[in-house]
């Protein structure tokens, strides 16, 4: 920093930047807590989890410097790519199991898996489990948004059950008679979610419809003033019986 002379603002700026980096480091670690890129060791040092040889770094500054290094970036992108491919694979399987026969077929598969021995094929079982899990996650995610309340793990699994195993109810009944009421209530919840989902979709289509209409009016030569009122562009010609957006879009 001496290049700028003794009383240059540059040094201060540099310090400030370091500090920001520090803060950013901690904030970024808190941001995606699910998969932190480093681990704070008990001795106060930091270990990078992304790079394959997990280097240990003394200070957050060094960590941030390391994080900007080309090796780290390369490793990071590799990790990201592998994650992405995993996710793609997952989606693919979901899509495959989600064809016209849809749920029932997957169900049959599950049944088959249970009855006619996929026991000796742990990989397939694992995959199926993963698919089911993702599906249930997909199902409940909108519910999270709409309901806004957190559900415990128990309900989550029951949602999953009620959704995916109505036909297997009979088989399970003897063992889970007591859980019936709760599952009923869960079904209600589910119905609600479906309804809200639909509402959301409607809302969305309505919005895009409205947007399309607005676009039609703008391309027909209408303009909007600062109050949102529509007026005719003086350079554009209109038919005598043209629709007025002020009325149509109210």
């Amino acid at each position: 920093m001496s290049t700028y002379g003794g009383d240059s603002w540059a040094r201060e700026a540099h310090h400030r930047k370091r500090r920001v980096d520090d803060l950013m480091l901690s904030s970024s670690s808190s941001r995606d807590a699910s998969s932190p890129s480093f681990k704070k060791l008990s001795n106060g040092k930091y270990a990078c989890l992304v790079c394959p040889h997990n280097p240990i770094l003394d200070t957050p500054l060094l960590l941030s410097v390391h994080n900007k290094g080309s090796r780290h970036i390369a490793a990071e992108s590799r990790v990201r790519a592998s994650e992405l491919s995993k996710r793609n694979e997952l989606h693919k399987r979901i899509a495959l199991s989600d064809d016209s026969t849809g749920l029932s077929s997957s169900e049959i598969l599950v049944q088959q898996g249970k009855s006619s021995g996929f026991h000796n094929k742990p990989l397939i079982q694992k995959t199926m489990k993963a698919i089911l899990e993702t599906k249930s996650n997909q199902m409940e995610n909108p519910k999270f948004v709409v309901a806004g309340n957190k559900t415990d793990l128990g309900t989550r699994s029951s949602v999953c059950d009620s959704k995916y195993s109505p036909a297997t109810d009979g088989i399970r009944e003897p063992s889970r008679n007591d859980a019936r009421e709760s599952s009923n209530s869960n079904e209600k919840k589910l119905l609600m979610t479906v309804a809200t989902n639909k509402m959301l979709a409607d809302l969305h289509s309505e919005f895009s419809e409205r947007r399309e209409k607005e676009l039609k009016f703008t391309s027909a030569g209408w303009k909007r003033d600062c109050h949102g009122k529509w007026y005719r562009d003086e350079n554009v010609e209109f038919d005598s019986d043209e629709e007025d957006p002020n009325i149509t879009l109210r």
């Binding site: 703008t218 391309s219 027909a220 303009k223 562009d233 350079n235 010609e237 209109f238 038919d239 019986d241």
Partner: protein
């Protein structure tokens, strides 16, 4: 003497040196600044010093006089220049004022043959002038229907000289030819006579041949060759210097009435598409290959021409047969006969023999067995006939004796191959039996051979001249092989070579290409035998057979069609040729030293044979369906054959009505009368002529054929030949035509009224409007180009299709302020280029509604193409501008333009970022928006960038890159991306003003590019053009040529001498054969 338009005049002296070679001296100068030269000619003065005459205009005073008085007084002069051979110096000898309308000089024979001097052709006059001789002047007769203010100009001239006499043929701008004669005594001309000769379409040059023909190179359209029937020597001349009458208003005009051809007869014509106004490649008729629709010609000679790749066919006869024939042959009775004697048709279970005479009729005394199908019928030896049928061979001797050979056991003959002296049959099971004709005319069995499997096809090469037998037999088997077997007595039926092919062969033909050493086709060809095989997958396989060893080399294959090609020998221009019958017929023949394989424009044929009779020397007889067809093949060597549909006025543009596949054509002409006015004028004229007959003595030049023929004559005056009567230059006529291309019928013709002319059209589908497809036509009213471009108004007409698209009905018309030179549909609206304004219209109830416009274009918009939300606008002077329409802002933005100001004449959209264009200086170019720029523009979600980005010096913010540049040397009027062959790659097809069609084929491998650029480089060095111009300089005449290889130059490779070919091939590490194959491959990719 060579004169530039302005100032320079150079005189070159041509001499012969001791070795009688022509040498050209360095030029002598006769420059005079501030002069414009209109015409130059040599003056015939025998063996005196050479004299040249020129019509000149001196503008030095007019240039410096600001009042314009001097310009108004400017006077043309006729100047004689003399080349003093002694002093080697050029001097002005004599100068005299001439009429200001003078435009052309014609040399008058001198020396001992005539009076010398020149004829000065001026507006309305022909004047004889010579130094020291008074002017002899005569009026050029006028057509009676010519408006008074229009002059008559001579546009081309030809001189005919014989020992004792000479005359001139002068053609006026209306097409009338006048015969001009001079009465002279020694050097004194006493009278100049002008007599109406005939009328032919306006020419740019005429030439009288000594053999009594006149070749007329037309200004536009087909060129013609005429034969002189007479030289118009009748006494009654229309105009003469002796009868010249001068009044206060000037000289008295002389009138005449054009009539049918009397002195000339048209013998032949050379087809010309000139000028191509618009072109589209479409497959409207659902044929195997698309058709090229071109709008050609101008004025009364305009036409729609439908071009199909292939040779034209002249069908001589079609006759229905009692069943479905399977094969047909023709046979002569004697080898020396000129014509065929019989046509033999084979059916499934019978054979029909037809004798060829005055008529073609069935006969039963031919000796052929008619209760069995035939496999082959031919002439054997000199004068005996042979019929091969499944159960044997029937040999009919000249005296009527019949020898019969029966197949052994239950075997039947399946295939047969033969020539004049040898026969090979294949029995079921794969046994080959070889027969040869012995000295006594007996057919003798020579050899048997067992093939591993059934034989698919057989052929023997024709007997070479001076030999007893042909050496090679080709056998095709179902195991995808072709074998060459020897027929020599020494190694009879030995396999010489084997060739494996991609699919079982269906038909074989050994074709001998005769040796020609510097013959009429101008190239040397060693004799060689080609083995042609039609494979079951539709490919024609062609390979060279070594004459000595029978080895096969240099294989080429070409896909001909969906059916396995059947091959037949035919005769074309006395040479052996090959007919290939696949899903369409093809002809392989030698033309100008090249082997050409061209499709015939005819329906699918089953079986064919060559046919020769006294009505048709080189024909083909073929069977297809239940009919027997006899036809001849015409105009060999041409790539396209054309169907012509005449049009009324100069065609401008056309579009396709997508649903009904009708063409909508707009036509317009300046300075002409509408059809009704013409009709009225014609009637009036007829009446006037009748009055003349009734004793109106003033009309000295009535119709010469007499009154009775009046009506006939009227019909004979076709507009195509005589042109339309001329009107004032600010008068426009125009029409919109709906044409059914299948029948060539016009289903609707709307003539525009009140001096309106159509300039653009497009079909348009307005979104959420109930009309469906509408037609938009851009017109201008009262358009004038001189003295200043002006117009009364421009309009956009909207028409609705009625009666199933056959007819049009006006919905409404909208006035605009300029000429709408281009229209285009865009996102369910109509985009119009009106002058320099790009405007978007929506359909209203009573007019079009202006919705959005951009006025930032530099000059005049002449072309528009759209793709998604991009609009590619072509400006008349400034090349392409890429625009984008933003719906949310209702704005049109120009985001990229070209850095080169091109005068655009044609354009075509190639892909999202690329446009192909042509400019008026004869260049074709491609411009492309760089990929990163294009991405940047597409990824602009807020639209802020495109809105606020500004270019420098009024240009657009982004610039396109020129990726291809090529000087064609001819003004390209239309461009299209299309593929002319089924399954072929797309190429860019262009049409030019001079009527040529060209194609630019994109390379798809780097290897090809390298090969052809090297070949082009060598061709440039080794094969410079005749006049010594540098090829590279020509192709880069305006801009350096870029990434285009001149295929025309590369295709001249076969015309090089063989050692030069070998030299170039060596440098390319290839053989000449490989280069030829490569050239052929590339050509086959296009057509």
């Amino acid at each position: 003497m060579v004169a530039a338009c302005e100032k320079q005049k150079l005189v070159y002296v041509l001499n012969r040196d001791a070795a009688a070679r022509l040498t050209i001296s360095s030029p002598l100068e006769a420059h005079k600044s501030h002069t414009i030269t209109y015409s130059v000619t040599g003056v015939d003065c025998g063996f005196d010093n050479p004299v040249f005459a020129a019509i000149e205009l001196d503008y030095s005073e007019a240039d410096i006089d600001p009042t314009g008085q001097a310009a108004a007084d400017a006077q043309k002069h006729l100047t004689f220049y003399e080349l003093d051979l002694g002093l080697n110096h050029v001097s002005r000898k004599w100068s005299e004022p001439v009429d200001n309308g003078a435009n052309l000089l014609v040399t008058v024979p001198g020396g001992g043959d005539g009076p010398s001097g020149v004829l000065v052709c001026a507006e309305n006059f022909v004047i004889y002038k010579n130094q020291g001789h008074p002017d002899v002047r005569a009026v050029i007769p006028r057509r009676a229907d010519l408006p008074a203010e229009r002059g008559v100009l001579v546009v081309s001239a030809a001189t005919h000289r014989q020992k004792s006499m000479f005359f001139f043929l002068l053609q006026t701008e209306y097409g009338d030819i006048f015969r001009v004669t001079l009465e002279h005594e020694g050097d004194r001309v006493t009278e100049l006579k002008i007599k109406y000769f005939d009328t032919i379409p306006v020419t740019s040059s005429m030439s009288v041949l000594k053999t009594g023909f006149l070749f007329a190179a037309s200004e536009f359209g087909n060129h013609a060759l005429y034969q002189f029937q007479a030289i118009g020597e009748a006494e009654d001349v229309e105009a003469s210097s002796a009868t010249l009458m001068e009044t206060e208003e000037g000289f008295q005009p002389v009138f005449f009435q054009p009539r049918g051809l009397k002195n000339l007869v048209r013998i032949d014509q050379v087809e010309s598409l000139m000028p191509i106004m618009d072109m589209r490649v479409m497959n409207l008729f659902e044929e195997e290959t698309p058709q090229v629709f071109t709008l050609c010609g101008r004025g009364p000679r305009s036409s729609l021409r439908i071009l199909r790749p292939g040779l034209a066919i002249n069908e001589m006869a079609v006759s229905q047969l009692p069943g479905t024939p399977s094969a047909v042959w023709t046979v002569k009775k004697n080898v020396n006969d000129e014509f065929d004697a019989y046509i033999v048709v084979s059916f499934v279970n019978a054979t029909l023999v037809l004798s060829i005479g005055e008529t073609i009729e069935e006969v039963s005394d031919s000796g052929f067995l008619d209760t069995t199908p035939s496999l082959s019928v031919s002439l054997l030896g000199d004068d005996s006939l042979m019929q091969v049928h499944p159960n044997g061979i029937r040999h009919i001797r000249e005296d009527g004796r019949i020898n019969e050979w029966k197949t052994p056991g239950k075997k039947t003959i399946v295939k047969v191959g033969l020539n004049r002296l040898q026969v090979v049959i294949a029995l079921s099971g794969g046994e080959l039996i070889y027969f040869e004709m012995d000295m006594t005319g007996q057919l003798m069995e020579v050899e048997k051979h067992e093939m591993p499997g059934d034989v698919a096809c057989l052929d023997i090469a024709p007997v070479p001249e001076g030999r007893h037998r042909s050496r090679f037999l080709a056998v095709g088997s179902y195991d995808n092989t072709i074998r060459i077997l020897s027929l020599d007595p020494d190694d009879c039926m030995q396999i010489l070579s084997v060739q494996s092919v991609s699919s079982p062969p269906e038909s074989l033909l050994l074709l001998e290409v005769q040796a020609s050493t510097g013959g009429e086709d101008g190239a040397d060809h060693p004799a060689s035998v080609f083995l042609n095989a039609g494979l079951q997958n539709g490919v024609l396989f062609r390979t060279v057979v070594d004459m000595v060893t029978g080895q096969l080399s240099d294989t080429r294959s070409r896909f001909l069609g969906l059916r396995a090609p059947k091959l037949f020998s035919a005769t074309v221009r006395g040479r052996q040729a090959m007919l290939c019958l696949s899903s369409r017929p093809w002809l392989g023949y030698i033309h100008q030293g090249h082997f050409l394989l061209t499709p015939l424009s005819y329906e699918t044929l089953e079986y064919a044979a060559s046919f020769s009779s006294d009505q048709c020397a080189e024909g083909v007889v073929a069977v297809a369906g239940e009919a027997l067809r006899i036809f001849t093949i015409e105009r060999l060597g041409e790539t396209f054959n054309e169907t012509v549909v005449p049009l009324r006025y100069t065609p401008r543009k056309f579009v396709l009505q997508p649903k009904r596949k009708h063409l909508i054509i707009i036509e317009s002409d300046q300075g002409a009368f509408t059809a009704e006015e013409r009709e009225a004028a014609r009637k009036e004229c007829l009446e006037a002529a009748k009055m003349g007959e009734n004793g109106n003595a003033n009309n000295g030049q009535q119709m010469e054929n007499g009154g009775g023929a009046g009506d006939d004559e009227d019909d004979a005056l076709s507009d195509e030949q005589y042109g339309y009567p001329k009107a004032e230059s600010d008068k426009w006529v125009s029409c919109i035509r709906v044409l059914d291309p299948r029948t060539g019928n016009t289903t609707c013709l709307l003539e525009l009224q009140e001096n309106e002319a159509a300039f653009s059209l497009c079909t348009v589908n307005f979104h959420d409007k109930e009309y469906g497809t509408l037609l938009a036509v851009g017109t201008a009213k009262g358009l004038q180009f001189w003295p200043k471009r002006s117009l009364a108004a421009g309009f956009i007409h909207i028409y609705r299709f009625v009666e199933e698209g056959k007819s049009l009905e006006l919905v409404h018309k909208t006035q605009v302020e300029g000429v709408p030179l281009t229209l285009c549909q865009f996102q369910g609206r109509l985009l119009a280029g009106i002058g320099s304004v790009l405007r978007l219209y929506d359909l209203g109830k009573r007019r079009l509604l202006r919705k959005c416009e951009n006025k930032l274009f530099p000059n005049t918009i002449v072309s528009m193409h759209t793709y998604r939300d991009r609009i590619y606008v072509g400006d008349i002077q400034e090349s392409f501008h890429y625009c984008k329409y933003r719906r949310d802002e209702n704005q049109l933005y120009i985001f990229a333009d070209d850095s080169v100001p091109r005068w655009l004449t044609a354009s075509h959209h190639i892909d999202f970022d690329t446009m192909a264009g042509a400019d008026k200086f004869g260049n074709i170019y491609f411009v492309r928006l760089p990929q990163d720029l294009s991405d940047e523009i597409e990824e602009d979600p807020t639209g802020g960038k495109i809105k606020w980005e500004q270019g420098k010096l009024n240009g657009a913010p982004n610039k396109m890159e020129e990726i291809v540049q090529f000087h064609v040397g001819d003004v390209v009027t239309c461009l299209q991306k299309a593929s002319l062959i089924p399954g072929g790659g797309e190429c860019v097809i262009y049409g030019t003003v001079m009527g040529s069609l060209g194609a630019l084929l994109p390379f798809n491998s780097r290897e090809d590019v390298d090969f052809f650029s090297h070949l082009e480089m060598h061709m440039r060095q080794e094969h410079p053009p005749l006049c010594g111009r540098d090829h590279m300089a020509f192709r880069s005449a305006y801009f350096p040529v870029k990434d285009v290889i001149d295929g025309d130059l590369c295709e001249q490779f076969p015309t090089l001498p063989p050692d030069l070919q070998r030299k170039i091939a060596d440098e390319l590490d290839r053989t000449p054969g490989e280069i030829l194959k490569k050239l052929e491959d590339v050509r086959n990719k296009i057509i």
